[in-house]
Symmetry: D2
């Protein structure tokens, strides 16, 4: 089938390649002229036969919003827009309503796969009406991994991004689990080869997992991670997971601890620990470390 693909960055570019390998026609559009197949959104729309499917792979927030706004003007009733970016689930219903008012369908799709997706396939979680999902199905089939898993129609509009967001929340806590365990092992004298312990865990253990495999790869590159700073960004989905939990009064202690650990990693000095130091000094005369 034909697909319009807006956004050809690290993710979008590889996805175009994987979809083409599956035999579909992809017309890609991006601001960067050297990778773009067309020169404008309008040209992209014009180059596709109706009813069209246009997949967005642009940054969440304003960029996605403005693209949806433009497409609402350019597309026709019966077309379908897929938001494959990292939008907050709360944006999906807004986009779906805006497009529905023009007779255009909407599907949200969380995409996991990173740099490995081109070869191994992308895990897909999508939400929307069955008829709109069905229109996109050949593309989902092209993108997903080859096995029997890796793609799911998670529910209504928004469910795809919500499921992907929770996936990332779980990912935060799993990463934190390995990170905490690794630090503790590195700390004690009796364990003389932490990397080999991690390597051995790849079979027969309860914690065998892809993240464990990746941690072994990382330790093979740099056994004690001496080349790295303990600095971790966060992409927004961990924050949204905690916000969704708060909205629903669900306690998420491990995921939230993982998010806060990242926040802390980015502080050169911790204001709150200055206050702790100041209070200890006030009541106990404890020495403080001055700058």
């Amino acid at each position: 089938m034909e697909l319009g693909l807006v956004g050809l960055g690290k993710m979008g570019g590889n996805m175009r390649e994987r979809i083409r390998r599956a035999g579909h026609t992809v017309v890609g559009y991006a601001h960067q002229r050297d990778v773009s197949d067309v020169h404008s959104l309008k040209e992209l729309v014009d180059s596709l036969a109706a009813p069209r499917v246009v997949w967005l792979m642009v940054p969440a927030g304003e960029a996605t919003q403005s693209t949806v706004d433009e497409l609402a003007e350019l597309l026709e009733p019966g077309d379908v827009v897929v938001d494959g970016g990292n939008s907050r689930w709360t944006d999906d219903e807004k986009h779906a309503r805006e497009l529905a008012s023009k007779g255009i369908g909407f599907v949200d799709c969380g995409v996991s796969g990173g740099v490995w997706g081109l070869e191994n396939g992308y895990a897909l979680m999508y939400g929307g009406d069955a008829e709109h999902v069905a229109r996109v199905q050949p593309i989902f089939d092209a993108l997903k991994p080859e096995g029997e898993f890796g793609a799911v129609h998670a529910g209504k509009v928004g469910a795809g991004h919500f499921a992907k967001m929770v996936h990332n929340g779980i990912e935060y806590a799993m990463m934190q689990a390995f990170a905490e365990g690794w630090e503790l092992l590195e700390t004690v004298d009796s364990v003389t080869d932490v990397r080999e312990v991690f390597r051995s865990w790849q079979e027969g253990t309860v914690i065998r997992s892809w993240l464990l495999d990746l941690s072994v790869r990382a330790l093979d590159d740099d056994e004690h991670l001496e080349q790295l700073r303990g600095y971790a960004a966060d992409s927004g989905e961990g924050r949204w997971t905690v916000e969704a939990a708060i909205d629903n009064a669900v306690p998420l202690p491990a995921i939230t601890a993982s998010l806060f650990a990242r926040f802390g990693s980015r502080q050169d000095d911790s204001p709150q620990m200055k206050m702790i130091a100041a209070l200890r000094n006030q009541f106990g005369g404890h020495a403080v470390e001055s700058k």
Copy 2:
């Protein structure tokens, strides 16, 4: 080779079977006469040719201590004792010293595998002197999974149990990660089939793992886990992990949160939350729920 195996419970019994399948001779001893090959520790020792290897698979603490004490009297210089139970790493050095004073070697071995170990093999993490480990190696090879991973000489005496303990700490937080994510997904209306979301995650995602596979199995048995109470025991190793972290001033927020969630799950009513309710009532006149 010949092995003496003390303790033939759920784990020990299956391990005897797996070692025998590999062609070794196992003399098993347990208090339960119907599963025991011999009637006493002395008979077990007498039935093995020196130099002997005796593997303990008995409960941590007093049971292991008293078995070590007895074996220290029964065994001869050159024999080796392996503690494959869930002993605290701090016990290992004590046991090693006690046995070394009689010329008996000691190896500690953390064993992971549960009910799946008989068929899939057990992950093994062991600590001790190279010469003692070498004596046990054929048994390690029989027990471990068939692939290239699953067994590691982690370091000095105590390192095996320490590594296994940290494995379990990581396991606590990974389980908590999936549990938190599952609860959040179950809470929202838009996601209409949480089980299928979990199922789909088994390929292409960052969080694919054996625990994810098991969660899908659990949901296949009981889609909303309605047959279960939210009650989780803890086996000691999670507690020791946190204690080891405290000893070493390592922050373990996610693992500790997971441990505390289990503690909380076992309280019919939470004393601390009674105090919260009482305080809210004191300062705000907030209604409290009486029993």
Copy 3:
């Protein structure tokens, strides 16, 4: 001076009384006719001489929004609206803009004091332009405690509610601190009189505080809090504190733990702990507790 006061619930009613005791004229309006001085917002506005000050003490969200909307129509340029309710700080700027477009001033004011405020005074944190704050100052002076503290112009519009929200976040963690300590003391055998320990802490300790005094009062009513359920509501401000922290990438581990403890206290059974139980059963054959 004259004040219009909208909302005469537990807080509003006591505040009217305290302001009147200070010699000011208060025209109160509420839906409940028996406590209301006038029969409508319009009547309230008509009964005050311009320039007016109207203080809102109504529930946050829709009720406050609709009252602001009505007052925007009824009031005149030069009048000032004070929102003394528990509004989210993000609503304040919206309300301020809406009223400013009619020439009406706006001040947000966080109020702490609960059932003790009538006698002891209310702690006040307010935000807004200096000229608007100055108009309300006599009322602030009437409401605040008699000492030198208890009232602050915290900053711009929204700063009052923000400061009050953070106050409540701190309050959550302080309450949790006492609650955790109390539960631990109640658990051990060696401490034979926990209530007397708490009572003694009221002088000479680092933790002496009003919340400690209240906890002693609560224990005097019911030494082991046996009449209460461990069930704690949350009023929204704890949630907003965590959300504000997430927005600003500030780690708030203790405050968030306190919020999550409340969430957990309200669950009859914990879905996430069902998943933990299910997973333990899957990999270890651990017994689960069925319903």
Copy 4:
């Protein structure tokens, strides 16, 4: 009465002064000759009339143990030893048994007060048999604050140190509560004077407390704590509180979070966050910050 006091550091020295001001005779012994009243423990014991009371104010652990060992040899049946240091409660029973075998009584006493104790009095929590406590009562009366609170017979041997330890655990979380709130307020633009917000909270609020007063003092010294590093030591009692909670399966999320925050504050770079960075790089090609 007469008291032997061993240990004349910051705490012990001030306590000698306060006890003397109350009219008692104190014979102090310390290694530092310039502050010591006698030259040896033996001389201290010889200088007191039987039955004696000897109060230890020496570092927990080995120093306390060796002093108890020496006193067990030097004292006579009917004498009483008070451990006023920061011993772990688990040491108390051991010390009590050792001394009881010689007919010597033992009382453990947690002391709070820091640099303020000399003038304001020390909060005291003590454990032991009533007859031994009674022997020390005049000294407790001299040390405690003047009001009706500040001293408690908490229970059996060990209960004093246990209660003091929990006091410190609560203190950790209260300090963390103020620290988190302060950081959040400092982060947002709308709140223009955080110090004045803190100052105002000293009356009428739910969180008014001595620690709040001290935070205002600290901010008066250095409004944004710019002279301090965010580095906080921990004295052992926070760790023991968490260990006691683990022993008793009591969840302590806020206190533990506070302890872990201190651990983290002392790391120049976080090993666990290096692993997070490494994993993000592995699966997502996310840029890492190299050293």
